[in-house]
């Protein structure tokens, strides 16, 4: 790849491709949320699954801005499917932070990638933030559609102190996702010659 540090059209297309896969896998993992007990766990599960495309993505582009754009796109997509504006904000913020961390290792140092994916995964907190920041409004709007029992259970599982716990879980998910992604990369993609 040429020594140009700016994002070229080819890189932008790659960003689009991996954002699409990331989003589809994320959405598929979200389906676990049908069972309320899993909702707090989604922050852990989603980044683990999404680590696979993300680690492959990181071998393809390696330029500053890639993770930020992914974050912005994921935020926009989630906003379009009705998750509120908070996801866009966290998408931009944690996309940029993750990007900066990975940039510090030139997108090659494993430690910076590991940490970067952990931080980037925190964009998912935009989903949970609704449950805490606008707590009463959020749960009130759910009562009719989902039933009082569902809301009570969900509220029972998520008292205020669980917010930091979720952030930690989310971060751990990002770290595990990076590890899984690297394992899959070694096992499959490098052998097939596409990484």
């Amino acid at each position: 790849m040429e020594k140009n540090s700016k994002l070229q059209a080819r890189d932008l297309i790659n960003v689009g491709i991996f954002t699409a896969i990331y989003f589809v896998l994320f959405f598929a993992s979200m389906m676990l949320g049908y069972i309320p007990i899993f909702i707090p766990l989604l922050g852990l599960v989603c980044p683990i699954v999404c680590g696979i495309p993300f680690m492959l993505f990181l071998t393809k582009v390696k330029k500053f801005g890639m993770v930020t754009i992914t974050g912005i796109l994921l935020g926009l997509l989630n906003m379009v499917i009705g998750s509120g504006i908070l996801v866009l904000i966290t998408g931009v913020v944690f996309g940029l932070l993750g990007d900066l961390i990975m940039k510090s290792g030139n997108y090659a140092k494993w430690k910076s990638l590991l940490l970067g994916n952990g931080v980037f995964s925190l964009w998912i907190m935009g989903y949970y933030a609704r449950m805490y920041v606008t707590r009463t409004a959020f749960f009130a709007s759910m009562v009719d559609g989902y039933g009082q029992a569902y809301v009570d259970t969900l509220m029972g599982y998520t008292p205020g102190w669980t917010f930091p716990v979720l952030i930690v879980l989310n971060f751990a998910g990002g770290i595990l996702g990076a590890l899984l992604g690297r394992a899959v990369l070694k096992k499959h993609f490098e052998r097939a010659g596409i990484a």
């Binding site: 994002l7 070229q8 059209a9 080819r10 932008l12 297309i13 790659n14 960003v15 689009g16 491709i17 954002t19 699409a20 896969i21 989003f23 589809v24 896998l25 949320g33 049908y34 069972i35 309320p36 699954v49 696979i52 495309p53 492959l56 801005g65 754009i69 912005i72 796109l73 926009l76 997509l77 906003m79 379009v80 499917i81 009705g82 998750s83 509120g84 609704r130 959020f138 009130a140 709007s141 759910m142 009719d144 559609g145 989902y146 039933g147 029992a149 569902y150 259970t153 899959v184 499959h188 993609f189 097939a192 596409i194």
Partner: protein, 239 residues
């Protein structure tokens, strides 16, 4: 290209002439209000309308098969809520209630998103985003995402069939289940991506010159009407 889209002008798939930007706004409106809106007051009126709107659009787009499929889903959901729910109690009613709730909340936005992708060509989408003066850095990846969703669906269906032949179908082995689906999917999408970049670069994407576009997009009276209606819903949502 199917017969349903043959009678519309080149580079346009939408049968009724509404702007892609209007479609995006309507999708955000339907999904956000349906997912997070309340269910009392004016919302009693707004909700059924927003449920009906995506179906009407699909009908206008002549997607008969999908109209029938989504109608059946709705029918099953409502039947379950009316007849099955009173018979259940405890954990079961709670799980079923939640599932029905999630479905009826998400489905309208999902159908609207499906209509958006189904009725808009990538060129139109790019033209619309350029009109909004969005940076190329967002427009290019976004149009790729837009273009790839249907492809990912097709590829996944093919992989699922292949795995069914090999008998990898249940969640008794969750790791295998995920690995044997996600890995081939990513392999094929990565290859498709390579081809897509080559094709796009050939068409002058990323060149120094500003690209031209033959899509005639723009707001008409129909768009104004849609915007007004959607704004009405937002007002109802806010109060």
């Amino acid at each position: 290209m199917t017969a349903a889209t043959a009678d519309v002008p080149f580079e346009r798939k939408s049968i009724i002439p509404i702007d892609p930007r209007t479609k995006i706004f309507l999708t955000v409106t339907v999904s956000t209000i349906m997912c997070t809106g309340g269910t009392s007051g004016v919302m009693v009126l707004i909700r059924p309308v927003l449920m009906a709107v995506p179906m009407v659009f699909l009908l206008l787009q002549k997607k008969w098969k999908n109209v029938i499929r989504f109608s059946c889903t709705y029918a099953v959901l409502f039947a379950a809520e009316l007849f099955l729910m009173p018979m259940l109690f405890g954990a079961w009613s709670f799980i079923l209630g939640a599932a029905i709730g999630i479905y009826t909340h998400m489905l309208p936005g999902f159908i609207m998103g499906y209509y958006l992708i189904e009725s808009t060509t990538v060129s139109e989408f790019v033209a619309a985003m350029e009109r909004m003066h969005i940076s190329q850095k967002i427009v290019i990846p976004m149009s790729v995402v837009f273009r790839l969703f249907p492809t990912i669906g097709e590829e996944y269906a093919a992989i699922r069939d292949a795995m069914r032949l090999r008998g990898i179908t249940d969640f008794r082995e969750p790791v295998k289940m995920i690995e044997y689906r996600v890995v081939p999917l990513m392999m094929s999408i990565a290859n498709i991506g390579e081809e897509l970049s080559a094709a796009a670069l050939t068409k002058g994407l990323g060149g120094p010159e500003k690209r031209t576009n033959i899509c005639s997009i723009g707001f008409g009276s129909l768009d104004a009407l849609m915007f007004l209606a959607a704004l009405g819903c937002w007002v109802g949502y806010a109060v």
